[in-house]
């Protein structure tokens, strides 16, 4: 398909409602030929797998890490590499890794050699750590309580061996969301980080009446902490009901909540989306607060590593983090990770009863 970028753009030429181009335009010939007719696959190394079709045809996939935020320079380099070894074909994964699709076996090792020479991080396939699903953070979002790209960089620098070589009992899915909107996959990941506030929003009464809609603002509050203030044509906040979620700011610019000193992150654990063995699970609170400490967030990296290491040491083969915790029990989880259990860990919102322990089955971890 020849692409055109005219020097002078006639906007009347725009077509609407055409949708994306058909996916078949982008599939390597061997995939087109064997589409829906694959027999099996083998993971050859942490970053290389081969899919074998019923016809006997094969396609090799080399997976490399991507920071998701990519410059056009890097994208052009990827295109050049794909031309050299993959007849121009490559794809991205649902965790934002990059996959080179090789139809000619003799080109697999030369591709890997070039990728290594260019310092690409090869891996992410099988029972190990893969890329971190994340969000915009301070790079592009108005409601971010933490940066996202930096946390990803810090976490995967620390866990790089588990991407490229070492194995874990099962996949460990990491995710970062820069606020409690939880864009992405934080609520269903093995270990995930979410940006949180710990102080109430400021009310800019003068701006409220010009910029905000009262009913929408009130309806945005999960704890009904917002009530009208007719005298000021603004709102009042029942401070004791506010848990700093920031949703009112999402609908009303006059309620800024960002706070350099008090914003930070929480760590949640034990979520999964796959149905293998046990049904999908939500992640649950492990660490309620750690401070923002750019550029390396050492407290966060260290805390994730403690949880990660305890899982790797304690889990049985094929157990995801949530399955491991279900087996050992939460009292044991807090014991082996050394994370202090606090007021914030006990749910006091919608699901309290479901989360309380209605049994005498208890492990004595404090002897």
């Amino acid at each position: 398909m020849p692409y055109v970028i005219p020097d002078v753009v006639d906007v009347k030429q725009r077509k609407t409602d055409i949708g994306p181009p058909h996916y078949k335009n982008f599939l390597p010939p061997v995939i087109q030929k064997n589409y829906g007719d694959w027999k099996t696959h083998e993971i050859l190394t942490p970053g290389l797998m081969v899919h074998i079709a019923n016809s006997g045809d094969k396609i090799w996939t080399v997976r490399v890490a991507s920071p998701r935020l990519l410059s056009t320079d890097t994208l052009r380099e990827i295109a050049d590499i794909a031309d050299k070894y993959c007849d121009g074909y490559f794809r991205f994964t649902t965790r934002n890794n990059l996959e080179f699709l090789v139809s000619d076996e003799s080109k697999v090792n030369p591709l890997i050699e070039e990728l290594k020479a260019k310092k690409y991080m090869i891996g992410g396939i099988g029972p190990r750590v893969s890329n971190v699903v994340h969000t915009q953070g301070w790079i592009h979002c108005h409601s971010a309580a933490v940066d996202a790209s930096a946390l990803v960089k810090c976490l995967l620098d620390d866990l790089a061996d588990y991407f490229t070589t070492k194995e874990t009992p099962n996949k460990v899915r990491l995710a970062v969301a820069c606020c409690t909107n939880m864009c992405g996959a934080v609520h269903c990941s093995d270990i995930a980080i979410v940006g949180i506030h710990t102080k109430i929003p400021r009310i800019e009464h003068e701006r409220f009446k010009d910029l905000c809609e009262l009913p929408t603002t009130m309806a945005a509050c999960p704890t009904a902490a917002i009530i009208p203030d007719p005298a000021k044509k603004s709102i009042k906040l029942k401070e004791e009901k506010c848990m700093y979620c920031g949703n009112c700011f999402s609908v009303c610019p006059a309620l800024p909540i960002k706070d350099a000193e008090n914003d930070g992150v929480a760590i949640v654990v034990g979520g999964k989306v796959g149905n293998l063995r046990t049904p999908p699970k939500f992640s649950k609170l492990a660490v309620p607060y750690l401070p923002n400490n750019p550029p390396r967030w050492p407290e966060v990296t260290k805390a994730v590593r403690k949880i990660f290491d305890a899982y790797v040491a304690g889990a049985k083969k094929h157990e995801r983090v949530g399955e491991w915790i279900d087996r050992i029990g939460w009292e044991k989880f807090f014991d082996v990770t050394g994370i202090p259990f606090t007021w914030q860990h006990i749910d006091d919102w919608t699901y309290t009863f479901e989360t309380l322990r209605t049994t005498a089955q208890i492990k004595w971890v404090k002897k």
């Binding site: 398909m1 970028i5 753009v9 030429q13 725009r14 409602d17 055409i18 949708g19 994306p20 058909h22 996916y23 982008f26 599939l27 589409y35 694959w38 099996t40 696959h41 396609i59 991507s66 920071p67 998701r68 935020l69 056009t72 320079d73 994208l75 052009r76 074909y89 490559f90 794809r91 649902t94 990059l98 991080m121 301070w138 790079i139 592009h140 940066d147 930096a150 990803v152 810090c154 620098d157 992405g184 996959a185 609520h187 269903c188 009913p215 945005a220 999960p222 610019p253 800024p256 350099a260 989306v273 796959g274 149905n275 293998l276 999908p280 750019p294 550029p295 390396r296 083969k317 094929h318």
Partner: protein
Amino acid sequence: MTKKYDTPLLDELEKGPFPSFVTEMKKAAAKNAMAADELGLLEKSFRDKVTYWKHGGIVGVRGYGGGVIGRYSELADEFPNVAHFHTVRVNQPAGLFYTSETMRFFCDLWDKYGSGLTNFHGSTGDIILLGTVTDNLEPLATILSMNGFDLGGSGSAMRTPSCCVGPARCEWSMIDTLDITYDLTQEFQDELHRPAFPYKYKIKVVGCPIDCNAAIARADCSIIGTWKGPIEIDQDRVRDYAKKGMNIQEEIVNLCPGKCITWDGNNLTINNDDCRHCMHCIAKLAGALKPTPPFGATILIGAKAPFVIGATLSWVVVPFMEMKPPYQEIKDLHRKWWEWWSEYGKNRERIGELILRRGMREFLEISELEPAPEMVKEPRRDPFFFWKEGDLEGKPWEKWLK
């Protein structure tokens, strides 16, 4: 271009093995004034520990109500080239496959009209072109359309559907995830481009219950491939796994949630009637076990992040649906759902929240679906149930007690 800002904090993030987003920003900043100011602004955020993007921003292109996320810097005086820094969402090809030619087109386009910074991809699936000015939006949309690309979704609309790699490169895909995604995206172009709903609505399609696109957690409608036939067993290959050191009893039999597998050291047997279709044995014994037809999908509804009522995972609405083009049944259901949601949904109420507010009965009735045990984890535990005129008229117990 000479170096515009010192970035001592961000420079730290160029160290270490994982590919650095700072390096990416610096590459773009070397030739693009917008990217250079973006880098300077981010360094300031790192120093001050807060975001410097103004609230909101409403920009777009004629004919559409979404597709562009407007963004303005709070520090336009200090960083004038990111005074506007809008994101353009471009609908990705299903399965995220590309050719080098296509990628070079995006690079040429974005070097000319934007910051040179992208995300491959946004969490919903779109190609994210990160940072441009309002005046460039109309030409961008025009050039994209001339080359066969369209904008993705944003706002209270159907968002860009996405899928796993599916039958393109996976032996387990029981439905054509790419085709379903492409077909539904085309069918609902109007709903995608012109927000007409109470809030956002997402569709994700995956080929099997392993759910490689997190459909059950990240889509209002989760379409998950599954099967009804028995699992076909290649005993020789199972024995190969055992020989290579897999403890079949521990790793397969004991972990089966249906407790329906046995292994006598030589042969594996599966009581398919008790199989829960979780994929564990099939995934761990790749090449030895194979699901067999009939193939179709489980349709689930309602997943969302915490705001406002708490996070939800999608729950079963149709336990098994055949998924053959033109996918009429799922399209018809969507039209019924959207009509009901548009009528009764409150402002910014996701469809899952509406169902929980008004009840599954109403939702199933407008869907013209009958209740089934596959829809619940367990029946209710309280005695506070509603009756409608007519519920007891047919004396449903008589048939059962016969």
